[in-house]
């Protein structure tokens, strides 16, 4: 570990928070329907979309109306994506001549992109036509992110309202977030990335004759436009199999810095936007603090593990200062560690080094950050929404200790909210551990594993943790393009996405009708160090303890194997 490495990690994580703040201010204006500097260009487009859809953006919906609209929109997105993927062989703009996807792969991929997970059971450059990448995958990258944002906007309105009724209009939130936030920011970042070296072409590729006279087929795509939304939309699905380790997705330390910041920037922006809407800047600062502490600890932990001696390098008698298997030379340990934490702390799932080849505890930390429920800072909107649920549970626990009805942001928290909060957070371990347990004993599932023993268990656990948390990264030794994996992972992704969303909207529906209370002497302060500590405790207990037995059999036991192997070799 070097000071340069620590400086790079601190800068990357810190810049994401710093840039997230002004973007959050802007995002809150968008959610509130206020004027922005983009109005002259985008207002007419927005009005056109409302007219074509036949919706009145001013009409506030009840929580279940809002939820139904959200589900209908996502259902249509799923069907469209599924059809295009199945039919890409006969559709135009297929210069690679790829056939349509198999039924289970198309099902998995469509769910994956609609749920903002971007788990990929396929290798992009040998599976996806240019049309599929652009038309459905890029589109879903944006609108699935906007779907997450709508949930935070609705929850914020519920906290603001004093005996209100509706939680806002889903169509307005969806359209405004897409038009005013995701599209312009993505466009700017995409052009910047092309300038820094990312390809952007409709050609399928070129064949080069190398210096030694061999032929090298080089795949090309419209990479930059999809890369920008892949990061900013917190999607993570690579154009290429190697994702952001691929030099065409991430050619230099500067593109790495920009894209790494892009992973977290709109997640943090959602925190700040929520705070401004609810007029609870101090309380949200406490949430940001809690999330940052956990995220930085994760990055530091991975940096520490990746600078431990790897058994193969010890056996080979080469330099052991960095575990270089699966890492790019231009990134090394610090860039890879910062990225691994940011991508798993958010529900991004892109990788700039292979997580399967991380040291056991490094891969374990990546898994752990996802098990916490994708709130560091998580996806756009969905991160702050689940963090809000965690805060409700924290005030509830505190309320139990002193025997008072808990309050949060001026609303009384009662049985109904806590029931839905528990529902939102119980789906996560249920799906992650349930599917893993079945797969660990099912021969059909075990066929896909690359490793036996603890690393094999980690491959299984990582897959369902990643799918349920809507992350999408993988221990990619697993060959997941088989019916069992494709179908069960699709179910895990759908459960992990839509059950918490509906639960959060139900909480919003319960809160919106309540009176807004002024804080009294008996109210637990939710903006100080005490609350940050309490919240971190709740997050760690909910996320950590229930996964400990499974983690002990995977990454933790493998860690001791590594220590034993290194000691024996020396």
């Amino acid at each position: 570990m070097t000071w340069q490495g620590w400086a790079e990690i601190a800068l990357t994580l810190g810049l994401a928070v710093a840039i997230g703040w002004p973007l959050g201010v802007f995002m809150s204006r968008v959610w509130k329907g206020e004027r922005t500097f983009l109005d002259p260009i985008l207002r007419p487009v927005e009005a056109l979309l409302y007219a074509a859809c036949g919706v009145d953006p001013k009409k506030s919906q009840s929580w279940h109306g809002y939820a139904l609209a959200l589900l209908a929109f996502n259902l249509v997105g799923f069907i469209l994506t599924y059809l295009v993927l199945r039919l890409q062989g006969v559709l135009p703009l297929n210069p690679q001549g790829f056939p349509g996807l198999s039924g289970h792969l198309a099902f998995n991929t469509a769910i994956s992109f609609v749920t903002n997970t971007n788990w990929q059971s396929y290798a992009g450059e040998t599976t996806m036509s240019t049309l599929s990448q652009m038309l459905v995958l890029t589109t879903q990258n944006v609108v699935s992110a906007a779907t997450g944002a709508t949930v935070a906007a609705a929850l914020a309105r519920a906290f603001v309202a004093n005996r209100g009724e509706g939680v806002g209009n889903f169509w307005a939130d969806l359209i405004r977030t897409t038009l005013y936030v995701l599209l312009p920011v993505s466009f700017v970042v995409a052009v910047l990335l092309v300038a820094l070296g990312l390809p952007q072409t409709l050609s399928a590729g070129v064949t080069a004759t190398t210096l030694e006279g061999a032929e090298q087929k080089i795949s090309l795509y419209a990479v930059a436009s999809q890369e920008a939304v892949k990061m900013l939309g917190i999607n993570g699905g690579g154009i290429f199999n190697a994702n952001s380790a691929h030099p065409f997705e991430n050619p230099t330390p500067l593109t790495n810095l920009i894209t790494a910041i892009s992973i977290n920037v709109l997640g943090w922006a959602s925190f700040f936007a929520f705070g401004r809407m609810v007029m609870a800047k101090k309380e949200v600062r406490a949430l940001v603090m809690a999330a940052s502490v956990l995220l930085f600890a994760g990055a530091a932990g991975i940096y520490a593990t990746e600078t431990q001696p790897a058994p193969a390098q010890v056996a080979a008698g080469v330099d052991t200062s960095v575990n270089m298997e699966g890492k790019e030379v231009r990134f090394g340990a610090p860039s890879t560690a910062a990225w691994a934490a940011m991508t798993t702390g958010a529900s991004n799932g892109s990788v700039n080094g292979m997580h399967s080849s991380l040291m056991p505890l490094g891969g374990g930390i990546a898994m752990f950050l996802m098990q916490l429920g994708e709130i560091l800072p998580g996806g756009i909107g969905s991160g702050i929404a689940i963090m809000g649920v965690m805060a409700l549970l924290a005030v509830f626990v505190a309320g139990l200790m002193v025997g008072r009805t808990p309050e949060y942001l001026g609303k009384k928290i009662e049985a109904r909210e806590i029931q839905f909060a528990i529902l939102a957070v119980i789906v996560i371990p249920l799906s992650m551990l349930g599917f893993s347990a079945v797969s660990a004993v099912l021969p059909e599932a075990l066929k896909g594993l690359m490793h036996e023993g603890p690393h094999g268990l980690s491959e299984i656990l990582y897959a369902y943790v990643s799918g349920t948390a809507n992350n999408g990264s993988a221990f990619a030794g697993l060959t997941a393009n088989a019916p069992w994996w494709n179908v069960t992972l699709a179910i895990a992704m759908a459960m992990g996405r839509f059950l918490p969303i509906v639960a959060v909207l139900a909480i919003a529906g319960a809160l919106v009708v309540k009176p807004k209370l002024a804080p009294s002497a008996g109210t637990l302060p939710t903006d100080g160090g005490l609350f940050v500590g309490l919240l971190v405790g709740v997050i760690l207990i909910l996320g950590g303890l229930q996964f400990f037995p499974a983690m002990a059999l995977g990454p933790i036991v493998e860690h001791f194997q590594v220590l034993g192997a290194v000691a024996a070799l020396r």
């Binding site: 000071w3 919706v55 590729g205 795949s219 380790a245 200062s321 080849s357 221990f475």
Partner: protein, 192 residues
């Protein structure tokens, strides 16, 4: 649900036109006009205009007179239409055997020198265009011998090709193998 069907269908259709067609095409237009070289894949051409590779993508070098890239797990090695890491876990026996064999071969060509880690490990993409400066320096002895030129001259070319980290601390120092070998060919036209 039925009342939500019209806005769902219409908005998805319009979003597809806007985000799936107009947005990537607009970026492509701007990119091709303003940054044609990068947008086309940063292709490298020889004097005759023939494409010899991409500046960003590693390629296979086996001749002793060229600097070699890292081992690659992409296809049969540096297959730029099938990027992949090895995905082997740290306790994987095959990984341990592979690194041991590679290190033994390297030790024979430059006995006594410390072997850098990137010389025996595969990258995440399998297309890593770079090697560490230490790895390039390790190979100077072999390259100079194969080309029959003084080590000092090869060393000077290597040092000129070292790219430092951004601002001294972002990313790692590195040497682009294709650029280095082209510089080598330019300086010693008969080698290779």
């Amino acid at each position: 649900m039925i009342s939500h069907l019209r806005p769902a269908l219409v908005s998805m259709g319009l979003f597809t036109a806007l985000l799936g067609v107009a947005y990537p095409l607009a970026v492509t237009g701007v990119a091709q006009a303003a940054f044609p070289a990068q947008a086309g894949g940063s292709l490298v051409r020889d004097a005759g205009g023939k494409v010899v590779g991409s500046a960003l993508i590693g390629q296979v070098f086996t001749a002793p007179g060229y600097f070699h890239g890292r081992p690659s797990a992409a296809g049969n090695g540096y297959d730029a239409s099938a990027s992949s890491g090895s995905n082997m876990g740290p306790m994987n026996e095959k990984l341990i055997e592979r690194e041991k064999a590679d290190a033994t071969a390297l030790r024979a060509e430059n006995p006594g020198a410390a072997i850098p880690a990137d010389a025996v490990t595969t990258s995440g993409s399998g297309l890593d265009p770079d090697i560490s400066p230490a790895n390039a320096r390790f190979q100077i002895l072999r390259v100079a011998k194969a080309r029959g030129v003084p080590e000092g001259q090869v060393s000077a070319i290597v040092e000129a090709q070292v790219l430092p980290p951004l601002l001294g601390f972002i990313g790692q120092p590195r040497v682009n193998v294709l650029a280095l070998n082209r510089a080598l060919d330019a300086r010693f036209p008969k080698g290779g």
